[in-house]
Amino acid sequence: MVKTADVQITDGIKRDLSYYYDLVYILAQKEIKTRYKNNIFGYVWSLVNPMAYTFVFYFAFEVIFKVKVENYVLFLISGLFAWQWVTNYVNGSTVAFFQNANLIKKARFPRFIIPLSKCLQDSFHFAMTLPVTFLFMVYYGVTPTLMTFIGIPIIIVVQFLLLFGIGMLLGSLNLFFRDIQFLIAIILQMTFYLTPIVYPISRVPEVYRSLLMLNPFAPLILSWKELFLNGVLHWEYISITLLHTILYLIIGSAVYRKLVWKFSEVM
């Protein structure tokens, strides 16, 4: 697959930052609009899924297994909303290019706009769940510190970039190997239990702890938990997440750049 073609299209279009911004914005807006504008339950629906899981895990682990974790419901919520962002985005971005085949085949625009706007839209949904987290914090008497408010945008940005890198990688590969999307669904299910969401990291035997850090979402979720439960920005977890972020951004953009010219041919 050697490219020998030489294509130059000088269309005088200013592809500056504001053009990209508008394009990403309008693509993200279309999804958000249909979810939040058309019905009042739109917002409720994005809460129902993590809340249902919260209830199930509360029942299974606190009522039945009797785990000794302080404020277990808050403990679950502080990780589950962020995890929902992860699953929604990873599943969605894997098929994102494929689902927008009609746009990719018809118009010439930078294709990475698609996973980018999807990430923007999912981060918006996540931001909308934050008030619920605060509500539970108040209920359990955990007062948010100044650090909590400083930390939220920081971790959001890190998670955003991490997911965007993964999205470019999986979205590009899935066009060429369609079964990746099924594989990803399974891997995500397994990753959920390899991420300290329903159990505290302190219960993980020492030997496995560093191994767990190979899962990019483990340090990410731990950063969120430290922030919401203890009001601290845990720099160690954030740094490990950041390393994953850089790694996935590099791999993701490399794979994307290598394959992007073939996108409109394979769908």
Binding site: V7, R108, F177
Partner: protein, 269 residues
């Protein structure tokens, strides 16, 4: 003669058939050992060269599946040729299948904004023109309802309205005249005539020899991966419809009929 706005030099496009078509991990594993020579190569276009000057209207004719749309996609920058040189200068508005890029959940107005942005026009410019687009499309109240409720003719109207009202320098049109009712078809032709007067460049793909002869000065006939004839639309269309070329020099611009070039590579041009 104006300056050249579209230039193709030895453009070849082929598709490799083993990866992608039935793309799965299983296929990758099974075919991993196969050499590149073993995978089938399907050539759509072979060594196409032509130039299009500013302000002209050119038609590409040919039967289904000869690669007319592939060619248009290459010029629009959506597909990359396998080899060769492509130069396009000017703001391109492409209508590759009318309305195919519209999102069914969005209203006509929202789709206009999205599609216009994807074509590379600025938000400001689109907002300025959106009323003109609505007017032109004659969709009335349907302009504000999701495009899932549109008929295919209405989709086509919206598609043509966007591409034409945004004032491009080069308009690429793939089979517009086949859809839409008579009055809308006339309207499209009117716009294209207006464009011609404004010295804009139009590249049209069509099956209809009548439209081509009526509308374009020049036609390029593609058959068997190559250019069969390139010249004044009347003569090329007549040849395409099965009559003999009056002027044999129009056939396959390098002077040799396609059939003989297949046998042996021609030594000099």
């Amino acid at each position: 003669m104006g300056r050249t706005v579209i230039e193709l030099e030895n453009v070849t496009k082929y598709y490799d058939s083993h990866i992608g078509r039935s793309g799965g991990l299983k296929n990758l594993l099974l075919n991993f050992a196969k050499s590149e020579a073993e995978c089938k190569r399907y050539t759509v276009l072979e060594n196409l060269s032509f130039k299009i000057e500013e302000g002209t209207s050119t038609a590409i004719v040919g039967r289904n599946g000869v690669g007319k749309s592939t060619l248009l996609s290459i010029i629009a920058g959506v597909l990359l040729p396998s080899s060769g040189k492509v130069r396009v200068s000017g703001k391109v508005s492409s209508l590759l299948e009318l309305g195919a890029g519209f999102h069914p959940d969005l209203t006509g107005r929202e789709n206009v904004r999205l599609y216009g942005m994807l074509l590379g026009f600025s938000k400001k410019m689109i907002l300025e023109r959106v009323e003109a687009i609505k007017e032109f499309s004659e969709l009335g109240d349907f302009f504000e309802s999701p495009t899932r409720y549109y008929s295919s003719g209405m989709m086509a109207r919206l598609g043509f309205s966007v591409a034409s009202q945004l004032d491009p320098e080069i308009l690429l049109v793939d089979e517009v005249l086949a859809v839409g009712d008579f009055s809308f078809r006339d309207k499209c032709l009117d716009v294209m005539r207006k464009y011609r007067q404004q010295q804009k460049t139009i590249l049209l793909v069509s099956h209809s020899a009548n439209d081509v002869m009526q509308f374009c000065q020049r036609a390029i006939w593609i058959k068997d991966r190559k250019i069969m004839a390139d010249g004044p639309s009347h003569e090329v269309c007549e040849a395409y419809m099965g009559k003999k070329l009056k002027d044999p020099s129009l056939a396959n611009p390098d002077g040799t009929p396609t059939e003989t070039t297949k046998q042996k590579p021609h030594s000099n041009a």
